[in-house]
């Protein structure tokens, strides 16, 4: 079970009113299934089901005693997760599996025609940024391109090459030198 799954299991285990009550009761003392069922006014099989979920999350442990099963709260587990939530690296890690480029792909699919040309220049910033990020990959890092060459590259995608040149610089994907000078690609500064 990976980290995220573990947290999800933990939250799911506690995301039920009766299970929260069970945790509350077990925080005071151990109880048998039968006792819990009487206290919560639900069936024993239902309590058993809840205890299974809590158990899978590591929140309770059963201790057999003749044919009773006394359940104990695993307080350490709760504290462990609470401390994890206070750790600033935990939450950002939850997004690790998310495909960071999904948004860009969607924008690109929307703005490029099947023949590979640009339908239009996006008016919205975050979409323009996605398009520029895509186009700028045609330029090698660390090489200078004369304006003429830049124009020829952009002309393959859209007639308004002047705007593309300007936006590339404006959004911080490229830099330019001098008046009619040359352009070069630079590292994108985080922002998205």
């Amino acid at each position: 079970m990976d980290e995220n799954e573990e947290l999800l299991t933990f939250f799911k285990a506690l995301a039920d009113a009766n299970r929260l009550k069970i945790v509350g009761l077990l925080a005071r003392q151990p109880y048998s299934v039968e006792q819990l069922a009487a206290l919560l006014q639900v069936g024993a099989s239902t309590v058993s089901h809840h205890l299974t979920k809590l158990s899978e999350a590591g929140l309770v442990m059963a201790q057999a005693h003749s044919y009773y099963n006394y359940y104990h709260l695993q307080n350490e587990k709760i504290q462990q997760v609470a401390r994890k939530l206070l750790d600033s690296t935990t939450l950002p890690a939850l997004s690790a599996e998310v495909d960071a480029n999904a948004f860009d792909r969607k924008v690109i699919a929307n703005y490029f025609l099947p023949d590979g040309t640009l339908k239009a220049l996006p008016s919205q910033q975050k979409k323009m940024r996605a398009v520029l990020r895509h186009l700028v990959q045609r330029f090698e890092m660390g090489r200078k391109y004369p304006e003429k060459e830049v124009n020829e590259m952009f002309a393959q995608f859209h007639e308004d090459t002047a705007s593309l040149r300007r936006e590339m610089v404006g959004y911080g994907f490229m830099q330019r030198e001098g008046g009619g000078g040359c352009y070069w690609r630079i590292e994108e500064k985080e922002e998205r």
Copy 2:
């Protein structure tokens, strides 16, 4: 929203894989609904629904920006709950509504003076019931008590022995026989 309900809302808000991912993403930077939908590969209306749940739990906040809604993570809320989980009084409190005797104990603590006598007879039924339940334990089950003996017992606690006798019968803790006859304790019919 009481304490328990608040915790339940919190756990329910985080008990979903996509919502955990949203929290993870927002822990890095704010995102619009549209961006989150693209990143998670689900519909915008679905994301909106998730954000409503997170919002109700106080975990995110929207910041309108033209017609975009940028959602921000409310990290303080998460930390606040995490700290609450580390507090040893939080979990036992979750069972407050359940513990059938907690109410009785509180009433008894309120109505009995340190010397063991009754401050007054409660006017509210459920408080009276708790007091009577406590007092009736002085009588053995299955034994008959003449009225004189009953009075002497009650007089230790309160001068109004007549009311106590009457209520014991009225609430179904005891039964009486004949005119000036005798009393005996009976099983309390579940009600609490």
